[in-house]
Assembly symmetry: C2
Homo-oligomer: 462 residues x 2
């Protein structure tokens, strides 16, 4: 059976890669309204794939934003039902000038595929499709009941996923969610991710005068929006790197000693990590290791800040506007609404004299997510990863946010097994995003093996 | 004579305005290399005007940057020689979306002309041209010797003016410079400007990691270029609004008591000023009035600051780059090189952990400029302004920078009389720059009267 699968994936490799390239060429950028037609094209591309290998009830589920793609195969009575999750939308590609090859023209080099979204999440989503296709082609049936839900708004924080899942609770009901999203920790060993951070995001618009003012005529006597914004942003952290927003840490569940010990036991070299990023120094909340900071502590990061003249040369103005976009990563038991309110309050309280601000929240905050390490699927997944990739899978946590996991837990009562074969260093959300071909190949087999093993497991509503 | 001039300007008014519109349509933006052809077109337009009304030796004087336009009429032996100065380059027009009418399509409304550069300095330059033209047409000669020097780099800090003037010292020699640049203080009364602030400008590039990093995977453990830039920029001022750069004020000549008293005696309402700018509060160095801050104290203003994602929506990155453009206005006896070095030193010393910076100076720093109030031309100009505009001209200072005045003083040994009919509230360097038609008309007559009066004056090398 496993030899047969390995042979199948080898024989169909060039077709699979050609199909993936086709998928990657669609610039399905969910954050930009100009890409709405591309979003629809990508959704239809996925739906068409599902239909092609015998999935049933395939359709787009409409939302207030971009649609999700649904499909199912439910002909394994008495066997578990899984919901396969992933997303077909991608991050914006800018800054374009930093890409070696254009973001939507996939390029094969160094045994990798380079393209926007190849690692997050089109490559991994595609692996799930092709694993199910392989089982259908080889056996004419699946070893368990499968549903698919591929959303188009992960990169904007999945604002419409909760109402969608709530509205289709029966349709989507499953014993377990298996997510094609949620990259592995790193390239050196397989890993299983037990938790993800939540998120909330805000935008601040700051204004001073009615118009930009001449820096000669007015300079020295009027507030400067950029000075005010710099002061405001600088006030968000203390000198040591702690978030200085009052109450920011008050809902954070402190890490038990044994969990800190488990993290400390993972082989991880902070200095190599620092060097790999080209950083003169790491920087973060005092009292925690780098992995603790990334996995178990909340953050506040300004992701964009701008105002005044950015062109060539100089312009002697005192800018009257400045803008900043802020995101926070949250850990249990922080709540996105509560944290956003605290940050907004801090900003309002710290507005420098002569400036006014308006703070807006982005839709789509997410709660943090946690799965206990003793869940049976964790053991099953670890066995599959060892079989296919060799070595021992390590249990890790994720600094990133997968809003879907928390939504499925709350609304479907199902845990999410993260089963993605992208790696967290693959420059997703940055120029030159890539996907390792080695993990592309391994993932196809691993998905097929996982489905076979889950089909044999007694798991129902773990 | 004066009646004759008034009638002449009235009769030729529509032609004059049509010609000015033609001049304003040329987008001669000196800061942007893409506009190089437009710069040349504007220079040729001015040269062609000079030739048309009988100026001689008209030509472009080449520089390392944009050329200057020269012309002369030297047939008044025994009479004084003046050098008429102005600039044909303009500021960039962005942000374009804030213009009511397009910046290079002049629009007449509210008894004003709206266009980029109409107030700074094409309108005022054009007035000098047309006044000389009027005298030539009416009398066939001028009452004194006149030279013209119109440069194309005022908006980039006149970096090539000093070598140009040094190289053409004899050609440009004059008893007095009369500048068509240097706006009047305000619309309520005529004014004569005795001093201008100097300037120096820098750009800071700050980097952290090699690439932008995913804010989930890395957030909390790595430096954020925007946080570092905000901290760095915030460090440039203390909480009260003083520049916090060590040594910044050490070369500032303190204002004598009588000058502070003269400034305090000027009718000026700080609250009206604040309201006219739509500001919730004024802001500046403690211990000085608004006019003192604008005219007699040095400043440091960030004119542009940016990094990270500025598009629609959000992008979950930790930016690895941030940029800022800084300009300082200087007063006697500050030196642009020395101040730039102090600011650069401050920046280097205050770089937050995990960041690196590189600081570049913009070429073209300017020394501050001062003319004693008892110079005879001040009295002559005041009489002309009273004749033409009514009321009493007040003596003021200028917060802005006219590098040319200091260059002429140093290299030609001549003071500069600022004789511009633009007003400092005309939104130059900002969207919707305009020029009052009333001052357009008054300025034509005033220039002609000034030339007649200077021709009769005993002034030689004042």
């Amino acid at each position: 059976m496993k030899g047969e699968l390995a042979q199948y994936f080898q024989e169909h490799r060039s077709r699979h890669l050609a199909e993936l390239v086709e998928f990657l060429r669609i610039p399905s950028v969910s954050t930009l309204s100009a890409h709405r037609p591309d979003m629809l094209a990508a959704a239809h591309w996925v739906a068409e794939q599902l239909s092609r290998f015998g999935m049933e009830a395939v359709r787009l589920l409409e939302t207030a934003g971009h649609p999700a793609v649904y499909g199912e195969w439910l002909h394994a009575p008495g066997r578990p039902t899984i919901l396969i999750y992933g997303h077909y939308d991608v991050q914006p590609p800018d800054p374009l000038e930093k890409w070696v090859s254009p973001p939507f023209e996939p390029d094969f080099r160094e045994n990798r595929i380079y393209a926007r979204g190849v690692s997050d999440d089109k490559g991994p989503l595609f692996q799930a499709l092709k694993a199910v296709e392989a089982l259908m082609v080889l056996h004419g049936e699946l070893p368990l009941n499968v549903k698919f839900l591929f959303e188009g708004e992960e990169e904007v924080g999945s604002p419409n996923l909760p109402p969608l899942v709530a509205a289709h609770r029966d349709l989507l009901a499953a014993d377990l969610v298996v997510s094609a999203d949620g990259a592995m920790w790193r390239a050196s060993e397989p890993s299983i991710t037990l938790s993800g951070r939540g998120m909330t995001a805000l935008e601040v618009d700051l204004t001073t005068a009615r118009i930009d003012l001449h820096s000669g005529r007015h300079g020295g006597a009027v507030p400067n929006a950029l000075h005010a914004m710099a002061e405001l942003i600088a006030s968000l952290h203390d000198k040591d790197g702690r978030v200085a927003v009052a109450g920011f840490y008050s809902q954070v569940r402190e890490l038990p000693v044994e969990e800190r010990a488990a993290i400390a036991a993972l082989p991880f070299n902070e200095d190599e990590y620092r060097q790999s990023l080209g950083l003169p120094a790491l920087h973060g909340e005092p009292g925690y290791t780098t992995l603790e900071r990334q996995w178990t502590r909340p953050t506040l990061d300004v992701v964009g800040m701008w105002g005044g003249f950015q062109g060539e040369g100089r312009k002697t103005v005192i800018p009257c506007e400045a803008h900043a976009k802020i995101t926070c990563r949250l850990v249990a038991d922080q709540n996105p609404d509560a944290v956003a309110a605290l940050v907004a309050e801090h900003l309002e309280r710290n507005v420098p004299d002569g400036a006014r601000i308006s703070v807006r929240r982005f839709p789509g905050g997410s709660l943090p997510y946690d799965m206990p390490a003793d869940q049976p699927v964790v053991k099953i997944a670890a066995e599959v990863l060892s079989e296919v990739m060799g070595g021992q899978a390590v249990l890790v946590r994720m600094g990133g946010t997968l809003p879907a996991a928390e939504v499925f837990q709350t609304l479907l009562g199902a845990y999410t097994l993260f089963f993605s074969f992208s790696t967290a260093d693959e420059q997703y959300h940055a120029p030159n995003e890539f996907f390792r071909l080695e993990r592309f190949d391994a993932g196809l087999r691993a998905w097929a093996h996982l489905l076979l093993k889950l089909g044999e497991s007694p798991m129902t509503n773990t």
